[in-house]
């Protein structure tokens, strides 16, 4: 599977921060995920040849697109790179029909018409061939944009927030299409998004990007399960992130001083005396009552708190609870009509916090350590 490889290493001083990314992609879908203004689009522009980095190197299978630090700097113009680009707002040519848009890159080729028709069918657009972009819906425009980029038969396809303006159902069907297109054409796909659902749905590999840097890469499951740094937690929007001090460490468990509250966690990498980042997934916490406490008590921390708010969501309710140590935690309660729905503000409740869901992030064990000082200087 891993025949083609794109190596990217670019640096560029931008108005608000410095872009400094390095990664490799094979024939797979790599998702660059991060908040708006993290430098994701700039990275794509550098790969496509629409922006010139200050330094670095970009190569595709031994062909150098860009190289700065040699006697003979290389900067191949965008038109010769053969990199397909699906722009954020599609950037379809408004004066051309869907068909003409798709055939744009083929105008000198005799088989252009047939090839464009094939792509139209492939993207379920055949009946819309002679419509202009403003006569198409957002999802249809997106399909035209993808077909147009693929018409030139690129090895690399860049997609910038491709589905940010589309409904959920359309996104899901487009995700499937992207996945199968990538497989069939053995494409290297770099997909930029700030929507985590999109990122997980489409990516074979996930790269977390913030402040112009790649903070962590890995399979979506790995990254979700083991965020490597506090920055990763922030990018992923992980809830209930706190600081705690390690007071004891055995083979089986970890004792933490969580701002005055003593809790136990299953054994993880850390050092005694170290101040670590602590995070607890809201769905792992449960509300209990004296008679209904889970059986194997030793596996849980029992914590008392006061309800400060309750928000109804699509899949769960979010309960905010102020603990005795004045920290506020979020708890996800499954379902909507459960007997605990009678919880009201100010009510005192007991929470069960499984030891193995108390996650600890030690700076010393961090995969890509990013100290808070560095972060501040970039911000």
């Amino acid at each position: 599977m891993q025949q083609s490889r794109l190596r990217v290493c670019v640096e560029k001083q931008l108005a608000a921060f410095k872009l400094s990314v390095e990664f490799e992609v094979g024939t797979e879908i790599l998702v660059l995920f991060g908040p708006s203004g993290a430098g994701k689009t700039q990275t794509l522009n550098a790969i496509a040849g629409l922006a010139t980095p200050d330094a670095g190197e970009i190569t595709l299978d031994g062909v150098t697109f860009f190289r700065s630090d040699t006697d003979q700097p290389i900067n191949i113009p965008a038109r010769k790179r053969g990199v397909g680009y699906v722009f954020q707002h599609y950037a379809l040519f408004p004066h051309l029909t869907a068909m003409e848009n798709i055939a744009y890159s083929l105008w000198r080729k005799p088989e252009a018409h047939k090839h464009a028709l094939d792509l139209l069918r492939r993207m379920h657009l055949a009946p819309l061939a002679f419509r202009y972009p403003h006569q198409l819906s957002g999802g249809q425009q997106q399909r035209v944009a993808i077909a147009r980029a693929l018409a030139a038969e690129p090895k690399v396809l860049l997609m910038d927030e491709p589905f940010s303006a589309l409904d959920r159902a359309i996104r899901e069907s487009l995700h499937k299409d992207i996945r199968s297109l990538q497989m069939e054409s053995e494409l290297i796909v770099i997909y930029v998004t700030h929507n985590l659902d999109d990122a997980l749905a489409v990516g074979h590999r996930l790269a977390l990007v913030s402040d112009g840097c790649v903070q962590q890469t890995g399979s979506p499951t790995d990254v979700l399960r083991r965020p490597a740094s506090r920055e990763s937690l922030r990018i992923l929007g992980v809830r209930n992130v706190f600081e705690a001090k390690v007071i004891a460490l055995t083979e089986k468990e970890l004792c933490l001083d969580w701002q005055g509250l003593l809790i136990k966690a299953s054994a993880q990498q850390a050092e005694v005396g170290e101040v670590v980042t602590l995070y607890i997934r809201p769905e792992m916490i449960s509300v209990t009552s004296a008679d209904r406490f889970p059986d194997r008590q030793s596996l849980y921390n029992k914590i008392i708190g006061r309800v400060t708010g309750c928000l109804i969501g699509q899949h769960h309710r979010t309960l905010t609870v102020r603990l005795q140590n004045e920290c506020e935690v979020e708890v996800y309660l499954p379902g909507l009509a459960d007997d605990s729905s009678s919880l009201s503000d100010g009510e005192e409740i007991e929470l069960a916090l499984p030891r193995d869901s108390v996650n600890v992030l030690s700076e010393k064990s961090a995969f890509h350590p990013v100290s808070s000082r560095q972060r501040n200087s970039r911000a």
């Binding site: 708006s36 496509a48 040849g49 629409l50 113009p77 965008a78 038109r79 010769k80 790179r81 053969g82 990199v83 397909g84 680009y85 722009f87 954020q88 707002h89 599609y90 950037a91 379809l92 040519f93 408004p94 004066h95 744009y104 890159s105 105008w107 972009p133 403003h134 957002g138 425009q141 147009r148 980029a149 018409a151 030139a152 927030e161 940010s164 303006a165 700030h194």
Partner: protein, 225 residues
Amino acid sequence: MNWSAFGLSLEVTLVATTLLFVAGLGIALTLARYRLPGQLVIETIINLPLVLPPSVIGYFLLIALGADSPVVEWFGLRLLFTWPAAALASAVVGLPLMVQAARAAISGVDPALENAARTLGSSEAEVLWRVTLPLARRGILAGLILGSARALGEFGATLMIAGNIPQRTQTMPLAIYDAVQAQRYSDANVMVLVMTLLGFISLWFVRRLEPPRGQYHISQTGADT
């Protein structure tokens, strides 16, 4: 109706329009694409004919085309008091209108579209020909029509450098002036009517060129700003 003046006016306007298209589009493209040193000065000079009295423009052109100018010395072109001089004067006064409209239209083309064309394998010339100019065509055409209409009505500068020689350099505006001077009002009335009609049609057409609402609207509803 002075038919020779009418014919001459058409001829002068046609040549002036050609000049306007070539020079105006070139200047508009350069101004829209590049930041030149002294850009503001260049733009101001191009716009000067909008505010200067025609006699001043005529005077400059007299110097530029006169006996000692490079045009005469190097190329042996003696344009003064011929109809090409009238065409040149007309083009100069029409130029600011053409440049302003064309430049606005070219700058108004979404750079993302030009970038898309580049990633699809287009050279800069191809981007210009297949994306930028087609998308800016309304503005360019509007500028050309306005410039031509202004060229057709040119009076003062033409009078100074081409003179008012019947059959040879007397265009419609000059013929109207002559007719009124000689109290040939019926002659003047017809020509005034023709000029007014042409002006009306030009402006009406320019107004028609404004794009219908929403046609070139590209969705900007993305969450990433």
